[in-house]
């Protein structure tokens, strides 16, 4: 029994390397398919302030809205589909709902609505769904997904009527939603006016820029993920080090420090200063893509540092991680990825998920 106690809940870390110049590089697809992002952190060593271009992107991340007590049928009705879904990407995620205990809902920009419900709600709702992949003995959680832009979901059809009846009359579900809207053309449908009947508040993502002094940075070789020679750190050690830096944990390994005995992996060099920028909010993948491209262009001019890091964290209570892969919360709901961008336009992509999650793509 003591052997089982030594194990911790399973987690997965997938590391891959590629180059931005390669034609079949999938970096934009990876960024685009991780729909719900909570925090973006950028670390640039040997840099005292955020570069001009990055700074302007960070300041212009766009706003998001928190709308309270929205009945779910409002996101399914014909008016909503024609006003928003066919004219851009609409992101909506239920707020203050815990994925392992309560009902949660998410509207993906592809037009799919994912509702994750507990057993009682599923049996009362009357819509067809699949049992969650992360059930213990009896299924206690069900996932209902419907494609709102499909031809079978045309307003007036049987499927549409059934869904509207279930969501509006049989078991009305209401959530507080975090919403963001990225229109594809200039004629913007106004989100504020559409949801004017509900309590709506606009937010800007909060930005914190900090300059770190005298930090130890691991030495990396872009071609060598596993550090076969002793001259560089391997990807897993570097991933742990990223967590330490982004959370500003002390890594001195003082004898008097009871909180952290972490040491920077060898080999490392001490860097005078580094810029750490953290953006928190409901962040769209399109903006992250801009940030990544800009970070890539940062290295077109010669720079002291051989690498820079962009890390993105997803919501712990989101029903999906990448694409429509189901996300569960066992004891932690982490789903995150980080790009390590090298001077020679190579990159490492590290994706990590927790216990109740499938392997990232």
């Amino acid at each position: 029994m003591w052997e089982t106690l030594k194990k911790c809940p399973r987690h997965l870390l997938v590391c891959e390397k590629s180059s931005f110049k390669s034609t079949n590089s999938r970096h934009s697809i990876h960024v685009q398919q991780h729909y719900f992002n909570y925090r973006v952190s950028v670390l640039i060593p040997e840099c005292s302030a955020l570069p001009q271009k990055l700074d302007s992107i960070v300041k212009d991340f766009g706003s998001y809205y928190l709308v309270k007590d929205v009945p779910l049928h409002k996101l399914v009705c014909e008016e909503f589909i024609t006003t928003f879904l066919s004219k851009g990407s609409f992101y909506a995620l239920s707020c203050s709902t815990r994925i392992d205990q309560d009902n949660a809902a998410a509207l993906l920009p592809t037009g799919k609505l994912i509702i994750s419900v507990d057993k009682d709600t599923y049996e009362e709702l009357g819509l067809e769904g699949q049992s969650s992949r992360y059930s213990h003995k009896t299924p206690m959680r069900y996932v209902i997904s419907m494609d709102l832009t499909a031809s079978s979901f045309a307003p007036g059809g049987n499927r549409y009527k059934r869904v509207m009846w279930a969501l509006a009359e049989k078991k009305p579900l209401k959530f507080d939603f975090l919403m963001a809207w990225n229109p594809s053309d200039d004629r913007r449908a106004n989100l504020i006016s559409y949801f004017s009947a509900y309590q709506l508040k606009e937010y800007q993502p909060s930005v914190a820029i900090k300059t770190l002094k005298d930090i130890e940075c691991p030495v990396l070789q872009s071609s060598d993920l596993r550090a076969t020679s002793a001259e560089s750190c391997d990807a897993q050690e570097f991933f742990d080090w990223q967590g330490v830096v982004f959370n500003e944990i002390e890594s001195e390994n003082d004898s008097g420090n009871f909180l952290s005995t972490y040491c920077c992996p060898d080999p490392n060099i001490v860097v005078d200063q580094a810029t750490l920028c953290t953006i928190t909010g409901f962040i769209l993948p399109e903006k992250i893509h801009l940030l990544l491209e800009s970070l890539c262009h940062y290295f077109t001019e010669p720079k002291l540092t051989p690498w820079a890091v962009l890390a993105v964290h997803g919501f712990a209570d989101s029903p999906v991680t990448w694409r429509e892969d189901e996300h569960g919360f066992h004891k932690g709901g982490e789903n995150l990825y980080s790009f390590v961008v090298f001077r020679n336009h190579d990159y490492w992509l590290q994706m990590a998920v927790g216990a109740n999650d499938g392997c990232p793509p």
Binding site: M1, R98, Q101, T138
Partner: protein, 270 residues
Amino acid sequence: MAVFMDLSIQSVEKKKLESIIETAAHLGYSAVAVNHVANFEKETKKEIAKPLCHEELFEGALPIVQGTTKPVKIVTRLTIVASDPSHCTEMRTTSQRTKLYDVVSVFPKTEKLFHTACLNLDVDLICINVTEKQPFYFKRAAVNAAISRGIYFELVYTPAIRDSTMRRYTISNALALMQSCKGKNIIISSGAEKPLELRGPYDIANLGLLFGLSEAGAKAAVSTNCRAVILHGATRKTAFGVIYTMPRDEQEDKRETTAPASKRSRTEAV
């Protein structure tokens, strides 16, 4: 998974109970059960008290569970501490007093009562002693019979917080129970008398690992199994878990009618 629940908060005086429930809601428990203990071990013929009405607590404004927008749910629970089956006639028939409680449990002190409770008694929970060395062994037949009837076994963790000797007994009794029941039908609850004795639900799920449960089983012990206990208690008020009765609106009866009672129509539309 179901919401997290703590099915054993000791019924103390009002202000203290309010602070315990508020702490439980802050820690993430969506439902709590206030436990009234009736000790039949020493005194027979003792009256079971009426449960505390939870509308009186917090004057109706229940604390919100952290991380959600819903208020915490409070249910009532009765625990009968007994050593002889003859003390427990209350539970065999549908006694007037036990009907008022949502969850009924028994704390058997002897093997005979444990056996009777597993096979015959109309209870939802059987409490397992954690404060002293178990005087009897858990027979697998009795435990399996209880599992098939839908009865759950409860382990309390606050004695382990208070004293190190009790910590040993808690773990050894829990491991002995695991060998008989193989990790099925277990719930872990607090038995808290003070707000500081409560622990968060994920910490209790980790404690379940020490007791020998699997990862998913330990989390279920604080969530899914507790939901099953409350549903089992709710079926006691129904017929076979299918039909339930509710009191008719009293205002209809107060209507004035000129005809005497014997001449009024016998069947009325409900």
